[in-house]
Amino acid sequence: MAATKTAKEQKYDRQLRLWGDHGQEELENAHVCLINSTASGTEILKNLVLPGIGAFTIVDGHKVSGEDVGNNFFLSNNSIGRNRAQAATELLQELNTDVSGNFVEESPDKLLDNDPEFFHRFTLVIGVQLPESTCLRLGSVLWNANVPFLVCRTYGLVGYMRLVVKEHTVIESHPDNALEDLRLDQPFAELKSHIQSYDLEGMGKKDHGHTPWIIIVAKYLEKWFSEHNFQLPKNYKEKEAFKQLIRQGILKNEKGTPEVEENFEEAIKNVNTALNPTKISSGVDDLFNGEQCNAITSQTPAFWVMTRAVREFVQNDGGGNLPVRGSIPDMIADSEKFINLQNVYREKAMQDASVVSKHVESLLQSVGKPSGSISEQDIKLFCKNAAFLRVVRCRSLAEEYSVETVNKDAITCSMDGADGEMVLYLMLRSVDRFYQQHSRYPGVYNYQVEEDISKLKLCVNSLLQEYGLNVSVKDDYIHELYVFCRYGAAEPHTVASFLGGSAAQEAIKLITRQFVPFNNTFVYNAMSQTTATFQL
């Protein structure tokens, strides 16, 4: 029985509480590629190796320098002069024997020249401290191969991440404060008859006090409907009146004073959320109307086949509603009543899921795929989460960088933001420009700092001009010019640690397909400890 715990469950106990065993399984099947094992790179990887990704491969053509050893925990003095990918792999591997560590002693540019398909095999590619040209080249290879790409960078006291993924679908988005799916406004037949099996007036005191609040609300809603032309209580006043109606149902003792019935109190407390009309959110509706949902082919990913099947369900079987979720909140009730009620919802959910499953089957058949290629379990999970489906679509790097498709509005709007992260973004773009022109970053040599400031200024201006950015907050970036030149492209460990945590977290979201990753640019200002996300 529950007695034996595998060593893995024990080791990963604290994280299973966040993403479950199926999330862990995804993690263990993932193969992540890290390009450049700098401080930020190894920090990211450390945070993926510890929770147990299946495998990693480091691609790095650099040799370990003294500077590397100074800020990178996974490189030591005796690795100076060796290949950085190899040295880092050895030490990272020690963190977790469940993980398979690999390395390629080559620069990403070489690989892109000789064997671009090398990158197709990965679940996710994380590129760290990449020059702009490499980043764009790799970005386009991965974009075409549908491999998610996470660009990460630590530049002095600035952290930067860019997620590049064509389409990332999320079934378990774990929304905060999701409403329950109770269908009290449109009870299904089985729920109706279950509600009917209760007779609040006729039952004994004990049963009355242990009737689940859902039944109570449903009962009084029937009464309300009959008096209000089948309209739900809509505004505050009507809801108060409805609560009053419930309150009158509380049993009274011989003297006529109301008894304490916690379940009734609970019913009253839940009126507001319980009376929310059942409907499909605009987000999910958009998915139903999307291209992927319309044109199902043999290549269509399971997510979209299931989305389409749910759409069929909504249109043909569900009377315009999603499959019943099948869970109810905890409430005051005795076990028997609670479990009976729960079973009504649960069985309906199973029924709905099996109808959806039939749709899945015929969709698969219609495109010549075996009907079992999407498992019942996946369909159940999908139905349970149908109200919370999310799809993240990022713009490509090419779109962000092209003069024609640059998101000018996002940039100019964000320039007004008080924290100035957008200025930092533009500065990063400018130092890249500097690098392209001078083959080094500004301020790396102390004696050149002054000179570099004016050179960098030219880069900023040409960037703004080229993109036609009419940005007025000049003072901000002049200040940043000095600061950026002082950074000298340094990678302070503590900023790398922050970025390592944040980037690995996004990587885990992508790999487990749980929780919603950011879209698409993230900037961290370590001086003010502020962050911002932009859609660029």
Binding site: R14, W19, D21, G70, H210, D330, D334, A532
Partner: protein
């Protein structure tokens, strides 16, 4: 070489001051490991680290300085050795010890330029807070829980201290709720933990599990007592010798234990019919006769075995098996060392099996929906989910705050909250300006003073010492003097001086309404003036009340909407991971904070809280969470397994 990277981005003087700065890191767990790495690589040279804990398997998914071969060893010691392997030039001193040990006095704290907390429990946080105030050393406080995290800076006279904002007291449960009238699964889980200790561990009079005849709900009806007395005569088993002695006399026979706990005791409870007038009466269980138990019934949920809920028969079987296993383990240990205590060691499978089975059987008896082992483990141990990523982020933030302090820019420091994901304003981090000290803080005010309501005729001197001064006011070794003009010493921290007073009531020392007590904690260099208000009608089960304290009601909402999902009576579909830090942290403390009122004090950066919602629940586990600055790391427990805080 190490500091090379920083010279570029930080001032040269700062880089120099790092190498001379003496730093104390309190805790070598999840945050602690990250922190040690960060500080050495940022250029700190002289570091002392203290942790009393040893390494557990469940630490390895994030405490990267430890490996499997280190399990069972001192965290502080192994952390030091691992860091030195990578950075041989650092000068690290490790203490395998509690920071609350009197050896670490104010003088000790004065050795440091800066203290960083990477702790997991409130008692230690309170203590370090006081030590740093007394020594006037800046303190960086931090915590994480799941995806959430928080960092803040405490500087005497300049900022709020850790205790400026009253925190809800840790949730405790009245004895008679546990013994007689459980109404929530947690009551049954606590009962099962007590039972474990009674049977296999150290017996503790405060952890009684048998029916409580002194329940205030019944005490005034002598007729009832008589009936019960008869019942008790009829059934010899109910005569309370010691639970353990009795169990031993039966040879730990699982069926006999079962019948006593789940049948006889329940039948006995039923005789207290007053209790069941308004409650659903419990249902005594019979040991399933025909042993048709081979296959657990009613399996709910899918996924991990741990996440399933079995039927009653399944738990009967689990109960009997775990009793046998634990009994044979007891026997193996031999007589001398026959006790081991429920230290919240939820990672001990047989103990956890026993607690799961016993708690679920009791839940069934009291008409609650049973819970999976996984959920029970969360609740029994207050296990807080913990991952490497959050700790890495928080440790990164801590060092950056440290750099500001060392450059003399304490004013630039912030309290920073880490959100689960970017909030509606697209901020992952929410920095808030630090608040000035609260004028009536009972810790950092210039003359700390507090008013306590209690019944002087019913409060023992020992209760004043243990429950009020130590537990509530966080003192380690208090001395109490009555301001009665004579300077009567009520409690002395010197051993043997005032033990005789322990079992006397406060009124025996002429303490009455309006009396003032001067309380000193020499170690913490802390003096508190306690004003006593005599009060006859405190609520049931309330021994004392601190005037002006955060009402304890707020933090212990039975089930607000959000919580409901996580604390579900157990029939939550387990395909959904017990995610969201909420569930477990919940048992600890939660503050309901109105985030609308939160506007950062001054702050050049217009940051405001994610104020989408009305009341947001803040849990605070390893930390507070991210939405409201008021919330100060109450009860944080640094990630980890030490986050296991016994509920009792």
């Amino acid at each position: 070489m190490v500091t090379l990277q920083l010279v570029g981005s930080l001032r040269k003087e700062l880089a120099d001051s790092l190498s001379t700065c003496r730093l104390l890191v309190v805790g070598a767990g999840g945050i602690g490991c990250e922190l040690l790495k960060n500080v050495v690589l940022t250029g700190f040279k002289n570091i002392e680290v203290i942790d009393l804990d040893i390494i557990d398997v469940s630490n390895l998914n994030r405490q990267f300085l430890f490996q499997k071969k280190h399990v069972g060893k001192s965290k502080a010691q192994v952390a030091k050795e691992s860091v030195l392997q990578f950075c041989p030039t650092a000068n690290i001193t490790a203490y395998h010890d509690s920071i609350m040990n009197p050896d670490y006095n104010v003088e000790f704290f004065r050795n440091f330029m800066l203290v960083m907390n990477a702790l997991d429990n409130r008692a230690a946080r309170n203590h370090v807070n006081r030590m740093c105030l007394a020594a006037d050393i800046p303190l960086i406080e931090s915590g994480t829980a799941g995806y959430l995290g928080q960092v803040t800076v405490i500087k005497k006279g300049l900022t709020e201290c850790y205790e400026c904002q009253p925190k809800p007291t840790q949730k405790t449960f009245p004895g008679c709720t546990i013994r007689n009238t459980p109404s929530e699964p947690i009551h049954c889980i606590v009962w099962a933990k007590y039972l474990f200790n009674q049977l296999f561990g150290e017996e503790d009079a405060d952890q009684e599990v048998s029916p409580d005849t002194a329940d205030p709900e019944l005490s005034w009806n002598p007729a009832d007592t008589e009936t019960r007395a008869t019942a008790s005569d009829q059934d010899g088993d109910i005569k309370r010798v010691s639970t353990k002695a009795w169990a031993r006399s039966t040879g730990y026979d699982p069926v006999k234990l079962f019948n006593k706990l789940f049948k006889d005791d329940i039948q006995y409870l039923l005789t207290m019919d007053k209790l069941w007038k308004k409650r659903k009466a419990p249902l005594p269980l019979d040991w399933p006769e025909h042993q048709k138990l081979t296959c657990p019934q009613g399996v709910t949920g899918m996924g991990l075995k741990d996440q399933r809920v079995f039927g009653v028969a399944g738990y009967c079987q689990l109960f009997s098996r775990s009793v046998e296993t634990l009994h044979s383990m007891l026997a193996d240990k031999g007589d001398g060392a026959e006790e081991w205590i429920w230290m919240g060691n939820c990672d001990d499978p047989p103990a956890m099996d026993f607690v799961t089975a016993a708690a679920n059987l009791r839940m069934y008896i009291f008409s609650m929906n049973m819970k999976s082992r996984f959920d029970i483990k969360s609740m029994a141990g207050n296990i807080i989910p913990a991952i490497a990523t959050t700790n890495a982020v928080i440790a990164g933030l801590i060092v950056l705050e440290a750099l500001k302090i060392l450059s003399g820019d304490v004013e630039q420091c912030r309290t920073i909250f880490l959100n689960k994901q970017p909030n509606p304003r697209k901020k992952l981090l929410v920095p808030c300006a630090l608040d000035p000290p609260s004028a009536n803080c009972y810790v950092c005010a210039s003359k700390p003073e507090v008013t306590v309501k209690l019944n002087v005729h019913k409060t023992l001197v020992l209760a004043l010492q243990d429950k009020i001064l130590k537990e509530k006011f966080g003192m380690v070794a208090p001395d109490v003097q009555i301001e009665d003009g004579k300077g009567t010493i009520l409690i002395s921290s010197e051993e043997g001086e005032t033990e005789a007073n322990n079992c006397k009531f406060l009124s025996d020392f002429a303490i009455r309404n309006g009396s003032r007590l001067q309380v000193d904690d020499f170690l913490q260099d802390y003096t508190l003036l306690v004003n006593v208000i005599h009060c006859e009608n405190l609520e049931k089960d309330v021994e004392f009340e601190v005037v002006g304290d955060a009402p304890d009601k707020a933090p212990a909402p039975t089930r607000s909407q959000e919580e409901g999902k996580n604390v579900a009576n157990g029939n939550k579909e387990s395909s959904e991971p017990s995610t969201s830090s909420e569930a477990p942290a919940e048992q600890n403390d939660i503050l309901l904070v109105d985030s609308d009122e939160e506007v950062p004090s001054s702050s050049t950066m217009a940051v405001s809280m994610e104020s989408g919602g009305h009341k947001r629940k803040l849990h605070d586990a390893e930390t507070g969470e991210a939405s409201a600055k008021r919330q100060h790391l109450s009860q944080p427990s640094a990630d980890d397994d030490n986050d296991i805080i016994a509920l009792d």
